[in-house]
Subunit: 398 residues, 2 copies
């Protein structure tokens, strides 16, 4: 396997001068972080698709996952590949750009143009690296809320996302309930489990073990902790797939040979595939951002913010929820989604829940899974009617 | 947490001059390996407990797991800790040293005295490192068979072991059927799955990414790839525990604090625990051995050795089998054990199968799990009667 064309091999352009839209906030508009620190000046990079209607009632905010970005439905400027949710976002698609104004911003702490550890600290002119403050899911959401304010939008028609994106959806619904007409947290959880924290810690230790990491100052040193970050990605990637999917895709097949080499070459297809995933990832992502974003997920515990009772996060909520999980997702298994559903029920909220049968594992939320598309379309159209937005006539599904 | 006393901090003494028993095989007795290579001279280090009876019918061979060793029921000379199966092996215990002659040898490729990559290559006087031949489970078993020959034992009363040890048990039962009166493969599989290969590959890449690994020549260079090996162990350790066990033991508890530090310190107990596991492991294990032994497990596919039909591995077998699995073991789940049971049934072999309910995950086979002890005791006593060995009267279990 060879890597596809990489438009920006050192990733610095997109981190510092993103090709997407950017909202800048000055030193007089700092972001108050959960840690107590104040970050400013700061910027949030985003993409927008479709048209905002006259009464600004048709905006959908999509929240990306750990290593995602704002490039939902356009060619990614770093990888040259399609957007990460092209299956879901576009004309006539479930998040229909003919009818909705769709926003996706790069999360705080990431490396595609929103302020993060790879950004230049105005106080020093050098990359923040580990002097960047540790941010949380709530901080990411507060940053998004500032962007939504800047765009003049009071209420979002929908906030949706999977995995870490789903955590942001839950935080939006809890902390900015009145601004969220409908919410779709997909393949996510209201708190990160011990096992998930453990996998993240392995990844962080892999990065930090790489001498090219230089205690986070690798950009100043002119190095990149590629080996450590690749190992982190390989470990994480296993958790994104199901055992069944790995078996179906690779089984014990040998790579380009019929017998073992009795060596440490990538004899098995699954080894070759994982190595490729590791190499491809380091071409597009900043190692320090990986540390900060995994940390944000680890810290997420929505109940804890509400006297340790998750239902209290949603009391009085008039948001319509659609929760989705996937049967073979062992990173964010259905029981995590059920815990959210139970809390919403206890809070008297409006909630639909769909567990989708698939062997594709956690990554299913990114893939062309018909039930995901159909459920999203159905929920969005129903919510649109309730919001008084036009819904196109559809042929009945046979 | 602090590390306990380590008797042999550089591990070299036990690798080269083990404190256990050792059987040496000269250049005239090379071991023919599955790769086609011949290894010799070579040595196999072992421990023995109890007395061999007059007709040599009471020998039990225990096979250790990936990072285990021959020190089953004595203080480990490297770690200063108890033997790894003290719950199972001793006077009056399920593998009863008052009645049985119990042998456990360090596997080929390991680092506790049996020839492996840390051993000195007689041709160069330097450690083999990566010039050591890649060995397989079958090679390990053939080496053990030479030891059993040397001890003058024709038939083993029982061969038992968990995880990689269970793979050796299956290989013994398939390749040396007539020498195995009873067999206990525990928490194991007849082939390594794609997911398990993937986790091993992550570990190997973590070791190889460490510049202190020096392409395997770290002993010559006076370094040790401690960081890489620790990351490998951390990733593997997660797979040895169940999600439930991690939740029960650690949950989202903070380590020695009540609130997050907003840093990359080990805030959570589970992080601190994993880091400790990584540090403790590098104190006792050789990094190259870790590469070779994980590779041996990856290559294991017993059906493949028998025209891809697992049942053919056991045709005509008169061995009595007892298969055990654990409900929360996701590394070697019950379905892997059921596949073995189905093959044994298809081959008309004698087989008992017990799935033990526990939340302790894969590591349950090493722990004080009453059903494991009771099942083993019952099976061993029943087999002993069939073999004409004395069985003590027991009080009925209420």
């Amino acid at each position: 396997m060879t890597l596809r064309h990489v438009a920006d091999p050192d990733k610095r352009n997109e981190a510092i001068e993103p090709s997407s839209l950017v909202a800048h906030f000055g030193a007089d508009e700092p972001l108050a972080l959960e840690s107590g620190e104040r970050l400013g000046p700061w910027s949030i990079a985003y993409q927008a698709y479709g048209q905002l209607n006259a009464d600004k009632s048709n905006a959908i905010l999509l929240c990306h996952a750990l290593t995602g970005d704002q490039h939902v439905a356009n060619i990614n400027p770093v990888t040259g590949k399609s957007g990460w949710w092209e299956t879901m976002v576009g004309p006539g698609k479930p998040y229909d750009t003919d009818r909705f104004f769709i926003i996706c911003s790069n999360v705080l702490g990431s490396c595609l143009g929103t302020t993060g550890p790879a950004s230049l600290d105005p106080a020093t002119g050098k990359p923040y690296a580990l002097t960047f403050p540790v941010v949380t899911i709530r901080d990411m959401v507060n940053a998004q809320a500032k962007l939504v304010d800047r765009l003049g939008i009071e209420t979002l028609f929908c906030v949706a996302g999977g995995s870490m994106g789903g955590m942001q959806v839950l935080e939006w619904a809890a902390s900015h309930s009145e601004r969220v007409f409908s919410a779709m947290p997909i393949a996510t959880a209201a708190k990160h489990t011990a096992q998930n924290i453990a996998f993240h810690e392995v990844g962080r230790q892999a990065v930090m073990a790489d001498p090219d990491w230089h205690s986070g100052r690798y950009l100043d040193e002119g190095t990149r902790p590629e080996k450590g970050l690749a190992v982190a990605r390989m470990a994480a990637h296993i958790t994104y797939l199901s055992e069944q999917a790995l078996h179906r895709k690779f089984g014990r097949n040998f790579q380009d040979r019929s017998a073992p080499t009795f060596s440490f070459d990538a004899d098995f297809e699954v080894e070759s595939y994982l190595r490729y995933q590791g190499r491809a990832f380091v071409e597009r992502f900043d190692a320090n951002s990986y540390l900060f974003l995994t940390r944000a997920m680890d810290y997420f515990d929505l109940a804890k913010e509400h006297d340790s009772v998750l239902a209290r996060a949603f009391i009085g909520s008039r948001t319509r929820f659609c929760i989705m999980s996937f049967t073979s997702d062992w990173l964010f298994p259905t029981r995590d989604s059920r815990a959210i559903v139970h809390a919403l029920n206890a809070a008297g909220a409006s909630v639909s829940f769909v567990e989708i049968e698939t062997d594709k594992g956690h990554d299913a939320f990114l893939l062309d899974v018909p039930e995901l598309l159909d459920t999203t379309r159905g929920f969005i159209d129903s919510a649109a009617r309730a919001r008084g937005l036009a819904v196109p006539a559809r042929r009945a599904v046979p």
